[in-house]
């Protein structure tokens, strides 16, 4: 970890570490990083003792709030968020699945109103282990398998 940060260390900002390998683009999309003016670096399939491989995103001069980062939890459930000040990690948190998941997944129910009307999808967390979320509109329950399928598609 320490070594990783040294190579491409940022002075101030946020490092999202332990992103599920291959999901960095998806995470960047969810966080809306393409609209950021800050410098953003992506590293994919980096070796990691903990999980074999991982993706990393570094955002300079911007501290992401916990709420912002929790939005990535469905795509990268093992990610950690490090807030960096003067090259030091001053805060480190694990992402958590928020109670409301807005505009991240589409509903797997083809007859859900969100597939027809201009409205953001919204899911409510029913259970975190095993993971179960419920569509706020059509009430379809999505399991971890369903969520993975939606994310891959």
């Amino acid at each position: 970890m320490k070594k990783e940060l040294k190579v491409t260390a940022i002075r101030n900002g946020t490092v999202i570490d332990h992103i599920t390998p291959g999901k960095a683009f998806e995470v960047a999309r969810i966080l809306g990083l393409e609209d950021f003016s800050a410098v953003v670096s992506l590293a994919m399939n980096v070796s990691s003792g903990k999980s074999g491989r991982k993706d990393i995103i570094k955002i300079e001069n911007r501290e992401l709030s916990k709420e912002e980062v929790d939005r990535i939890s469905l795509v990268a459930p093992h990610a950690t968020v490090n807030i960096i000040k003067e090259y030091e990690v001053i805060d480190k948190k694990h992402v958590e699945i928020p109670d409301e998941i807005v505009d991240i997944l589409s509903c797997s129910n083809v007859n859900c109103i969100t597939q027809f009307e201009p409205v953001k999808t919204k899911f409510l967390l029913e259970n975190s282990n095993p993971l179960r979320i419920r569509c706020y509109y059509c009430e379809r329950v999505l399991t971890e398998e369903d969520i993975k399928r939606e994310i891959t598609e």
Binding site: N111, I113, T114, E117, R132, Y136, Y137, C138, V141
Partner: protein, 299 residues
């Protein structure tokens, strides 16, 4: 409560309040002016004669008036207007909205868009909460209680919207359930989990002979759920209530959300077990109770 969208939004006290108010509404069934000057808009994007007439009857018995449409072909929806816009326009002309719509979740979206109360009269395959409330009211009216009863749910328990909502509402009560369905059409896992979480004893059975209940709630088995016609015909035959079935059903009341196809033989209609027609009638006081309380009426 501003809207009535899903039975999941109700806790036991709220359900009981509706049932109690429905009992009071029986006293106003021949007319009152509780809602004089109020207008109900019925937005029926797909046809449902009975539910619409029941709501209209309820509103008129309360002294209110009704506007609306019963199919969307002649509305702005056909011109591409969003549901949210249709609702925002309708609320300019009315005090309360009842919506039936083919898409799941449409009623929730409508309620969020509207500032006036919205009642869900069926959103696709998802919810039809007023049906569940009238089912509970019927049991209470017939048997004077819900707690302590043995209740059987029979038919397509996998795809049946009505039985899902009914099971979910019953889980607030001290009941035990028998779930009678053909193989492949068993109750959904997450609903069974919910029953277990709420310590509701339930038993899954396949034969009418194994029934031992106070209330038997029968629903339709739809042909299109089966891979082949032969399989359907076989199941249809064994899931039909006839006079012979009364040997097992004994004195249990038989309910059905209607319309039935042939899962209950017509000769059952004349037996004291059959209460499905009065069940439909109970939709009126229950809907009166909801309309009145959402528009500010208090006992």
């Amino acid at each position: 409560m501003k809207d009535v969208i899903s039975i999941k939004d109700f806790d036991k006290d709220e359900i009981e309040q509706v049932l109690q108010n429905a009992g009071i509404m029986e006293g106003f069934i021949h007319g009152t002016d509780i809602l004089r000057g109020k207008i109900l808009a019925t937005l029926f994007f797909e046809p449902s004669t009975r539910t619409r007439l029941s709501f209209e009857s309820a509103m008129k018995r309360l002294g209110g008036k009704v506007i609306g449409f019963s199919e969307s072909g002649s509305t702005s929806v056909a011109k591409g207007e969003t549901l949210q816009d249709t609702v925002k326009i309708t609320e300019q002309y009315s005090d309360i909205i009842v919506i039936r719509h083919p898409q799941d979740g449409s009623a929730r979206l409508a309620a969020d868009a509207a500032s006036v109360p919205v009642i869900n009269a069926g959103d696709g395959a998802n919810q039809h909460p007023t049906q569940t409330l009238l089912d509970l009211y019927t049991i209470k009216k017939e048997l004077k209680r819900i707690d302590g009863l043995k209740i059987g749910l029979m038919g397509d328990l996998k795809y049946g919207r009505t039985v899902h909502s009914f099971a979910s509402a019953l889980s607030w009560y001290d009941v035990s359930l028998q779930l009678l369905s053909p193989l492949g059409l068993e109750m959904l896992e997450y609903i069974k989990e919910n029953l277990s979480e709420k310590s509701i004893p339930f038993e899954e059975i396949q034969e009418i002979e194994d029934i031992d209940v106070d209330v038997l709630y029968v629903t339709r088995i739809q042909k299109e759920r089966f891979p082949d016609v032969e399989e359907y015909e076989k199941v249809k035959g064994s899931y039909r209530i006839t006079l012979e079935s009364l040997d097992y059903i004994k004195k249990a009341i038989i309910m059905h959300p209607l319309p039935r196809v042939d899962e209950i033989a017509p000769e059952i209609d004349k037996t004291p077990n059959a209460i499905y027609f009065s069940q439909a009638r109970n939709g009126v006081p229950v809907r009166m109770a909801l309309l009145a309380s959402l528009l500010g009426w208090e006992q």
